[in-house]
């Protein structure tokens, strides 16, 4: 355990020096400000408080941004050490490969948690400043927060797996961008096209729920939008959220980080320095 924290402390320090912490926090803060400003028109017509509306738009933002940040932080984790030639020495120290990866994970997840907290915090403050009844949206915002971390944790694990598999940082960077495009953008578009073509038939009712769970980004989208009842404000696959029980989406969201991290450890075990 102390080894995990030692690695986490060093990784956090490196991320601070590399400006990664500043970049992540600034990015989240900026997007939250833009969304809050965009949502500051009259909102009473929908019957939702201002914060609930902001949460809906934050959800569609986070589903792109959180995986992207996680992948950008993680792609260098193993490949970078192989390239710099620091891995061989690290592996001669006591402690398992899993604990080395866990240390990096703790640091990266901490940075993600900070950046997302700053972003969502700004959104909450902006909404509360306009109307007191926005307090009603705090529960949804909190749910969005910790599910964002689950989503981020999943993509951190996926990024480590890619990093270990690619061995070279350049290749790993290309692969994580490909993974992001496929998992976060294209998968959702494909499902949407299929649902529209199916028109509420067998596919939508029986196959679709499984396909949604097969992707942490979609599980995240569905759980948050369904739970907040804000599906009307949502676009894409989330429109068909009624076919997937939110608790099932949540179960998968909880499971995904472990699966991704297990994959990362398996890939890392195959790396010879």
């Amino acid at each position: 355990m102390s080894r995990i924290f030692a690695t986490a402390a060093s990784e956090a320090r490196i991320a601070l020096r590399n400006r990664w912490v500043a970049i992540a926090v600034a990015m989240m803060a900026l997007f939250a400000l833009v969304l809050s400003a965009a949502g500051s028109g009259p909102s009473g017509t929908l019957g939702f408080d201002r914060l609930s509306v902001t949460v809906a738009s934050l959800t569609s933002l986070a589903v792109y941004l959180v995986p992207l940040m996680a992948l950008l932080m993680s792609f260098d984790a193993v490949a970078g050490e192989v390239e710099r030639g620091t891995l061989a020495l690290a592996l001669t120290y006591p402690g398992s490969r899993a604990s080395l990866l866990a240390g990096k994970f703790v640091a990266h997840l901490g940075i993600l948690a900070l950046a997302v907290a700053v972003g969502y915090g700004i959104a909450a403050l902006a909404a509360l400043a306009f109307e007191a009844r926005a307090v009603a949206g705090l529960a949804a915002l909190w749910r969005l927060y910790w599910t964002s971390l689950l989503l981020g944790a999943t993509f951190l694990g996926a990024g480590y797996a890619v990093s270990a598999w690619a061995r070279r940082p350049g290749a790993a960077a290309g692969m994580v961008i490909g993974l992001w495009l496929a998992a976060v953008v294209l998968y959702d578009l494909g499902l949407l096209a299929a649902v529209v073509a199916d028109g509420g038939g067998t596919f939508t009712r029986h196959v679709f729920p499984w396909l949604v769970m097969g992707n942490p980004a979609d599980a995240f989208r569905l759980f948050n939008l369904a739970a907040s009842g804000a599906t009307s404000a949502a676009a894409g696959v989330a429109g068909a959220a009624g076919f997937v029980p939110p608790l099932q989406a949540l179960a998968w969201l909880l499971l995904w980080p472990f699966a991704a991290f297990a994959l990362a450890i398996a890939a890392f075990r195959k790396v010879t320095p």
Binding site: S2, R3, F5, A6, T7, A9, S10, R13, I14, R17, N18, R84, G85, T86, A88, L89, L91, T92, Y93, P94, G95, T272, P273
Partner: protein, 297 residues
């Protein structure tokens, strides 16, 4: 009990035979030098000892345990060839990190850096260090926690003469404390003076494993005698000894180990014709070349 035992260690990378049937041992307190040309298999052997890569065949025992096991790693220190660190960390932060990984007090970082002469640069980022300074950070991390086996891959490369001296001094201290040391080097003169035993690898095969004195006997290389004759007597001396006159006063002879005393007797008999005599035994350089070419032919 031996600290490190290798028997029949064999390793190939595809068609390249990096190690074939290597066997030797290192005892506590013993300093063993691993010599060999570039690509002889020194680094590969060390990585196998550390458990970083597996051997294709053979047995390795590190401090009574398997290579790469927790017990072995806890008491083994490694200094890789071309050691590297994250450039964004300072020397002190990097050593504190390694101390924590070994469960030691991080406050020892500064004393450790002082020991390798890096106290002044401790708070600067490693990215600004020279190669020699990085090498000294590498040495500092290898000293953490009283290791029982040190595996040092070309530890003196990039070090200036003063740091080299202090490095060998530190090593003497570790060996006196009972640590087993396996190091590779190309600096043969240093190795000659500062190690107890020499293992020579040539194309992955072990061609020698003995003390320098024993290797010298086995190689039976000629000893060189440099005679300085009195002015004008060089020709006479050269003729009397059947030697080779170099210039006005110098006569060079080389003689087989067994003939040394007889030769010295002849020279002494020349009496006043000889002004001075220098005896040059075969250097490690010569011995090394002897064993490498013997293996090649």
């Amino acid at each position: 009990m031996q600290s490190l035992i290798l028997s029949h260690v064999t390793k190939a990378f595809g068609a390249t035979r990096a190690l074939s049937d290597v066997a030797f041992a290192v005892a506590p307190g013993e300093r063993v030098a691993l010599l060999g040309h570039n690509g002889a298999g020194k680094s590969t052997l060390m990585k196998i000892v550390l458990g970083l890569i597996g051997a294709d065949a053979g047995e390795i025992t590190v401090l009574g345990a398997a290579p790469g096991s927790h017990a072995a790693r806890s008491a083994t220190a490694y200094l890789p060839e071309n050691v590297a660190f994250h450039p964004a960390l300072t020397g002190q932060e990097q050593i504190r990190h390694y101390l924590r990984l070994r469960g030691q007090d991080p406050a020892q970082a500064l004393p450790l850096l002082e020991r390798v002469g890096l106290a002044d640069a401790a708070r600067r980022r490693i990215g600004t260090y020279s190669k020699g300074m990085r090498q000294r950070v590498g040495l500092a991390q290898a000293l953490i926690g009283r290791p029982r086996l040190l595996v040092l891959d070309e530890p003196t490369s990039g070090l200036d003469p003063v740091s080299r001296r202090s490095f060998w001094g530190i090593l003497d201290g570790l060996a006196a404390d009972g640590a087993a040391i396996l190091l590779s080097s190309h600096a043969l003169t240093e190795v000659e003076a500062r190690t107890d035993r020499i293992v020579i690898l040539s194309h992955g095969a072990m061609v020698a494993n003995d003390t320098l004195a024993a290797l010298r006997r086995r190689a039976a290389l000629p000893t060189h005698l440099q005679i300085t004759a009195r002015p004008g007597a060089a020709d006479e001396v050269a003729a009397a000894l059947a030697g080779h006159r170099l210039n006005g006063v110098r006569v060079d002879l080389s003689c087989a180990p067994g003939d040394k005393l007889a030769r010295l007797g002849q020279i002494a008999a020349l009496g006043p014709l000889v002004e001075d005599l220098e005896l040059i035994p075969p250097s490690l350089d010569d011995i090394y070349r002897h064993f490498c070419t013997e293996a090649g032919s």
